[in-house]
Symmetry: C2
Subunit: 340 residues, 2 copies
């Protein structure tokens, strides 16, 4: 009989001790060779023997054992609940990962779907990450932050609409999005302005501040703002459009381009002309907005580069004593097109 067809079923996982044995050296030497330790000189023949042994056994070092011994890791943990959608976010995310890798961090997204608050923080803390970058999918509490710091995290960074005690915060000024959108509508002479508030869960953190910003925009004017709950479904939009004329709205900020497309279609089908009767503004400046007729006015959001965030992480890790900073992450401005 030759070897079994079953793939290495029960062969134990090789350790550095196995490599040492096969190469006829000590475990210390194996470590020196495989890590290219500069402080110690190993003869070339020995190096070769060690390398070959490692190769032959298919040896891969055990990260947990290593970082246990070292007393620290270079893991940056990103809690992830829902996969964030949208090109803006996804580009930002890719950049962040890439930049952190270049700074020699290991980026790990920890699936936190169904975890809440402190329970989540505990779960993350068990991995002893050197830094946590929370993109706001899971709500972090001040207590949670304390738990993480206590477990050795040098930096906790939140990216989102809110500020949290003890963290470096990259605030996303969502209110500004609503403010510039509605200010634009007011400037165009609109007076009764609707603001779409998506009913989908998980969007409150964005829609709330945007609505608030919209309200700020009409202060000291004779314009008014009306919240418009809407689900991302045709029926919901149709209902809303059916009551449109009686509502007397002459302008609407539709939360983003996708809700805007949904609503615009429903309005047009209901015979409400855009922009004559009602002006519409979306946000995110998606390609699809340019494909609509009339072309959709939108709020363009410029997010900070992932690279910048990566550098902030790195600085925070190197100097954990530094005072937590708060920086604004977004600039937003209206891109007027035909719908307003």
């Amino acid at each position: 009989m030759s070897q079994s067809p079953r793939q290495s079923a029960e062969r134990p996982v090789p350790t550095s001790a196995d490599v040492a044995r096969l190469a006829g050296v000590s475990r210390a030497t194996v470590s020196y060779v495989l890590n290219n330790t500069a402080a110690v000189r190993i003869s070339e023949p020995t190096r070769r023997r060690v390398r070959e042994a490692a190769e032959e056994l298919g040896y891969v070092p055990h990260a947990a054992a290593r970082s246990l011994r070292a007393g620290h890791s270079r893991m940056v943990l990103l809690p992830s609940a829902h996969v964030p959608v949208g090109p803006l976010y996804s580009r930002f995310f890719d950049e962040l990962q890439w930049a952190l890798r270049r700074l020699d961090y290991t980026v790990v997204q920890y699936g936190s779907l169904g975890l809440e608050g402190d329970e989540a923080a505990r779960a993350w803390a068990e991995l002893r990450p050197v830094a946590v970058v929370s993109l706001g999918e899971v709500q972090l509490t001040p207590r949670g932050v304390k738990i993480l710091k206590r477990s050795g995290a040098k930096a906790v960074i939140t990216v989102g609409p809110q500020r949290i005690e003890g963290t470096h915060a990259l605030v996303m000024d969502q209110a500004r999005v609503g403010r510039v959108a509605v200010a634009h509508l007011v400037e165009r002479g609109r007076r009764r302005i609707g603001v779409v508030v998506p009913e989908e869960p998980g969007l409150e953190l964005f829609s709330g501040p945007r609505l608030e910003g919209a309200r700020q925009a009409v202060e000291d004017t004779d314009a008014t703002v009306v919240p418009l709950p809407l689900r991302y479904e045709e029926e919901s939009a149709t209902e809303l459009a059916a009551r449109w004329r009686e509502s007397g709205l002459d302008g609407v900020f539709a939360y983003n381009d996708e809700y805007a497309m949904l609503l615009m279609r429903a309005l047009q089908d209901a015979g409400v002309s855009v922009p004559d009767e009602t002006a519409i503004v979306g946000s995110d400046d998606l390609l699809l907005g340019r494909l609509l007729r009339p072309r959709l006015s939108t709020v363009r959001i410029d997010m900070v580069l992932g690279e910048e965030l990566a550098e902030l992480v790195d600085r925070a890790v190197r100097d954990p004593e530094a005072v937590p900073s708060t920086r604004d992450l977004m600039a937003s401005r209206v891109v007027p097109r035909e719908s307003s």
Copy 2:
């Protein structure tokens, strides 16, 4: 002076030994209490003292130490390069995470942007995951699979258009998407059929098989298929539309609904009427397709539930000896609307 305002800056991270000391018990007892070890009975007062000590110190166990001792972990590693976009994918992903959590696995996405082949497999293997579920963002090689198995991974599962040696494969039958779309067009009487091939990188694994499927659909018919390279930009679509009449195409499978919307708009702007002159079919059945005029025909793709995949992972982990299976992950069928 009260305590420094600096947050616990240099206080060392508490260990179970610290908890033991504070509670006046041994480390063993701490472990028993905090893990609710059934095999051993600890008095209620002791339990309380231990819990209080742990609470007071903000103790969180060290996952690496634990799994080092245990000799295994319940980590399922998902390599992630680009955040996959689209609602289909993202729903599937959420379900998978959720279901794996319920089966008591820890889901970790490992940022692999910029890693290639075996190098990537090595990096993953260092974490000693019990299973790896590769969604195809990073190309896994048979050697990579061997490295992972050798490092203790009980199961390697690939989800994607391709099959790889030694893995459980959930094949996504992308060819079928192209096949049913084009068969539908042929059935509707179209004869010169374009197939959009996105030029964006990373989509080849999908667009290739879809084009191939389209070709299969015209075998034994008098219809022909023409590949149409397209970037997801207005200019690219405009160019394509400008050459439309001379190309003599009377039908097109547009890769997905978003490319379909882009192309349809460009065609309409160029005066090509849809569906009279040219029929269009997209795929993914996005809401936006229903909002277009004419309403967009599409291929609806039913992905397997994330739960099913989670169960497959679990089975594979429990019985690593089992023969790797290959299952089809998608069903797809045409949803005819007005554009074809």
